[in-house]
């Protein structure tokens, strides 16, 4: 990340709160030009000023991982980054994963597998998995575990998340793959 804008550059408004600052960056390929209070995190700018609520707010402490986005292609916790730090960067959120109506193979696999249960942590897992698969098209289960360990899932239980990432990886490698069937006794 670039160095933050020095605080001395921030002028004070009359009500005692710092005046808004302007930042220009791209979000999901589109240039944006936003005016916001300089203390705002990238998470707040995305959700409040750009209305991109797919990026979730879980703890605002960098602990739960729900706010992961990609900045210049790397996973970053948006609650730990100032919005001003996005200046000149390329930000990708879950809203930018699909190609128009066509879902990304990771999205397809998450939906198909039920890897999104309540769905609140899902965007962060998918974006992190996207970076993993770009770098490593055939990750082992342990490599997936490691790569996804920055986000907490409280309800699905990770297993279907791993399986979905493995399914997406296989499809992205051009293999024919379908979801695993679990045994139901008596069938």
């Amino acid at each position: 990340m670039s160095a933050p804008v020095p605080l001395t550059h921030i002028t004070r408004a009359r009500n005692g709160r710092p005046a808004k600052r302007r930042a220009q960056f791209t979000v999901n390929g589109e240039p944006v030009d936003v005016l916001f209070a300089p203390h705002k995190t990238l998470l707040e700018v995305l959700r409040e000023d750009l209305n991109l609520t797919g990026t979730k707010h879980g703890c605002e402490l960098g602990e739960c991982g729900a706010c992961a986005v990609l900045v210049d292609g790397e996973p970053v916790l948006a609650c730990l980054v100032l919005g001003l730090d996005a200046e000149g960067r390329d930000v990708t959120t879950v809203e930018g994963m699909a190609d128009g109506p066509a879902l990304h193979p990771i999205q397809e696999a998450f939906a198909q597998y039920g890897a999104a249960q309540c769905g609140y942590c899902t965007p962060s897992f998918m974006l992190t998995a996207q970076v993993l698969l770009e770098k490593n098209p055939s990750p082992s289960r342990d490599e997936i575990r490691e790569a996804l360990s920055s986000s907490i899932c409280r309800c699905t239980g990770y297993v279907k998340i791993y399986e979905a990432v493995e399914l997406a990886a296989a499809r992205m490698r051009g293999e024919e793959a379908d979801i695993l069937e679990e045994a139901i006794y008596g069938r």
Partner: protein, 791 residues
């Protein structure tokens, strides 16, 4: 609805477990009930693995959670919480905050929800404001034009406290002379998810109770006689910690008060429960309170009713004349939004040498903070056949946030103790733990589940406790679940067919992640001969027919019969319109595979063609849950569930690693096995996380929680996730028009107990205290060595 002069008819239902000998039962059911639904193998949509209808919304970020709701002119709220664990609030000065930039409203709470209340209000400490009884207790809230402005203004609120003595440690709180949390006996109501505790119990100091007996009645038999007759007695003392729900989406609402009614977007497990509480607090007719929950990010039992957050936001909206968004921050979520009570259980069990149980006696002291409902006796009362069972359970009040129902209240903690003691009994009488359970457990589903799980995990390779060579020792353990098939009768659906052939279901029921949206579509699709994706499901809105609160594994059992009955009603309306054209009686019209036909091989129309025959643009069927089918002598239905766990314990570091879990479960007729597996996975992982990591820690010197976050409050993550294999059995009982059950609670009940039994098998030492941290493992091993040396 149909209403014949004859009110009931005989119907024959499949019963038993598919693949393990099915039989049937004839029951009298109301004539208005649809025909018997055959077993899943004869169905085309129900019972099939079906991707969630809302999957696309969730993976594109388009699913709107309460935290995502943005309304025009919406204000942002900040809650002011208590900074001390026990105090009388002398004054709350909001004058500076009210004048702060951007502030539109300030509200100070007059009445606190979610806490026990002094039974005789004249004995409560005299105070203008609610007494502060835990650090983090909500006191007031501010609404401003931005979150930052609300936060800044919150710092200007001056709360003056008259500090009172406090106690946060449950053992200390039990001692004579401990600071009193309540000046007189106090009670708390249960929520839709359970919890709470019986009213009117005696209270001495901070100890309320004990309550004797459980939800199915008073103590059974005479334990004194039972122990006298027993040939073997095993006993143990067990402690379990406080666990917080920690949903990723915190508690919160967006409240929009208008002259024509109140609309509240709420992250809740019960839309109707939020409506009812707000209607009561604000004196509004229920019809003027609308609660909407499109998507919600986890609740696990803590999200019922409006809560203090809902009441505060509504007051602020009313005062400001604008919608107000109030989401708890993570810290407040940890302190004030519910938790699983602790337990301190002394469990004694008497048996004959063949394993036959003679007596079970449980004495338990648990703390639910300033709430009640710390009982853990369910498994002891209900798992095994035993002529004498006595449970004596007391709530210990401490100055900490109130408990809330948490996924199978009392049961994971109860199983942690009971299932270990059962294993100890097996060892004492030199019987395999599974063989002992085969002798003393009358549940046919668990019998099969034990066999299936044992085969899958490879029980036969299980070694003698602690016999692995080397520092890392592996072990296999088992534990069982018990839970109950509760039904929420406040469950209704409307199913509509439009003239273009599109089908819509409406209900206030909310999808908390379990996937009820998809299950409802499957049930309606099955009835109408369509596919799940053909059904538009509109739920999570109290403007629709009432829905059950999603707690206690009641949702699927409660709402799917209403959906099927409504679908059947509208189906018969459509059938009547086309019957003559098809040349059959309406009852002879078959809807299958997208066609509407006069039986097999008869004249047929597509569903769309049939719908075009509607005389009006739309027809609809409305049905409420009808009573469970019964012959008047059937016992309350229970769920089983057996989990097998394989662990590796590093005896040098004390680190326990769960490597593999085989979870075998039943939930009546499974509707969507794909979603059920997710629920089981989630239940297992919450159970492991509870067993090994999670622990709300309170500083006894300051009364504050030292880990009110998700970093020091440790939750199992991706790295600690084992392989989980789920085996589901299909069990039929002829209980309703779908005969479906729930899975949320059973999936987490046995896990911690199974981990503990596996740890014993690995190292030959019992862990009787949770979480089973490396330090506790090492300490238990050291204690065992010392004991062994002395002997």
């Amino acid at each position: 609805m149909q209403d014949a002069t004859k009110t009931s008819r005989k119907a024959t239902f499949p019963t038993g477990i598919a693949g393990s000998g099915m039989t049937s039962v004839e029951l009298d059911i109301p004539t208005s009930e649809p025909p018997v639904l055959p077993p899943n193998e004869d169905l085309s949509v129900v019972g099939k693995r079906t991707p969630r209808l809302d999957g696309r919304l969730k993976v594109t970020g388009a699913a709107r959670y309460t935290a995502d709701v943005r309304l025009p002119n919406m204000l942002h709220a900040k809650v002011i919480t208590a900074t001390v664990p026990h105090a009388r609030v002398k004054s709350v000065d909001i004058s500076a905050a009210e004048k702060a930039p951007g502030v539109r409203a300030v509200h100070v709470l007059e009445r606190l929800l979610g806490s026990a209340v002094v039974r005789d209000s004249s004995k409560e400490i005299a105070s203008k404001y609610p007494i502060v009884r835990y650090s983090g207790q909500p006191i007031a809230a501010i609404a401003a034009t931005s979150p930052g402005a609300a936060e800044d203004a919150a710092k200007l609120v001056k709360v003056e406290y008259e500090v009172l003595p406090f106690v946060v440690d449950a053992d200390e709180a039990r001692k004579p002379g401990a600071p009193l949390v309540f000046p007189a006996p106090a009670d708390m109501a249960a929520t839709a998810g359970g919890g709470g505790g019986g009213g009117g119990l005696t209270q001495a100091g901070n100890v309320r109770g004990p309550a004797r007996g459980g939800m199915f009645g008073p103590p059974r038999g005479d334990v004194e006689n039972g122990f006298a007759a027993a040939e073997v007695i095993v006993e143990g003392e067990f402690r379990t910690q406080v666990q917080t729900h920690s949903p990723l989406e915190t508690h919160g609402v967006v409240a929009d008060w208008r002259s024509d009614g109140l609309t509240v977007y709420s992250s809740t497990q019960g839309t109707a429960s939020v409506r009812d509480e707000l209607a009561e607090v604000f004196g509004l007719p229920k019809t003027q309170v609308r609660v909407i929950t499109e998507f919600m990010g986890g609740g696990f039992g803590a999200k019922f009713g409006a809560g203090n957050e809902g009441v505060l936001a509504t007051h602020l909206s009313k005062k400001a004349g604008a919608p107000v968004r109030l989401m708890f921050d993570r810290r407040t979520e940890q302190l004030a939004a519910g938790n699983r009570p602790s337990s301190h259980q002394k469990l004694r069990l008497g048996a004959m040498k063949d394993g036959t149980l003679k007596a079970i006696h449980l004495v338990n002291f648990g703390t639910a903070g300033v709430g009640t409902g710390a009982g853990a006796g369910g498994p002891a009362q209900n798992m095994y056949e035993c002529p004498a069972v006595l449970t004596e359970e007391a709530d210990v009040f401490v100055n900490a946030g109130p408990a809330a129902s948490f996924r199978a209240p009392g049961h994971p903690q109860g199983c942690f103790a009971l299932e270990q003691v059962i294993d100890e009994l097996a060892e004492r009488i030199a019987v395999d733990p599974l063989a002992l359970r085969d002798r003393i457990d009358t549940s046919e589903s668990r019998r099969l589940e034990r066999r299936l799980g044992a085969e899958r995990i490879g029980w036969s390779r299980r070694k003698a406790p602690g016999s692995d060579p080397g520092p890392v020792k592996r072990g296999i353990g088992v534990a069982q679940s018990v839970w109950y098939r509760f039904t929420d009768m406040d469950s209704a659906c409307e199913v509509r067919i439009a003239r273009d052939g599109s089908v819509e279901l409406l209900s206030a029921v909310q999808d908390i992640g379990g996937g009820i949206r998809t299950a409802l579509a499957q049930v309606v699709a099955e009835e109408l001969g369509l596919q799940a994706a053909d059904i538009t499901v509109r739920i999570g809105d109290t403007n629709f027919p009432i829905g059950p609160a999603s707690g206690g594994s009641v949702t699927t059992n409660s709402i799917t019969p209403a959906a099927r009955n409504a679908a059947h009603d509208v189906k018969m309306q459509l059938a009547s319109l086309v019957a003559a054209e098809l040349g059959v009686e309406p009852s002879g019209v078959v809807m299958r595979g997208g066609t509407v036909a006069a039986g097999a091989g008869g004249k047929s129309l597509t569903f769309r063609q049939a719908a075009r025959r509607l005389k009006t643009e739309q027809i609809a069927g409305l049905a409420s849950r009808s009573a469970n089918y019964s012959d008047g002598k059937r016992a309350f239905d229970r769920y089983g569930g057996v989990q097998f766990v394989e662990v590796a314990v590093d005896t040098e570091t004390g680190v326990i690693r769960v490597e593999r879990v085989v979870a075998v479960h039943d939930c009546g007729r499974p509707i969507n096995p794909l979603a059920i597996e997710s629920q089981v996975n989630g239940g297992v992982l919450q159970g492991i996380s509870y067993a090994l990591y999670e622990n709300r820690q309170l500083d006894r010197n300051t009364g504050h929680m030292v880990n009110p976050n998700l970093e020091q409050y440790k939750i199992l993550g991706a790295r600690e996730t084992p392989v989980i294999e789920t085996i589901l059995i299909e069990e039929y009982r002829g209980r309703s028009s779908t005969d479906a059950g729930g899975i949320g609670e059973p999936a987490t009940v046995p896990t911690a107990g199974a981990v503990a039994n596996a740890v014993y098998n690995a190292i030959g030492v019992r862990l009787r205290e949770m979480p089973m941290t490396p330090a506790r493992v090492l300490a238990a091993m050291a204690a065992a060595r010392k004991e062994g040396g002395r002997a």
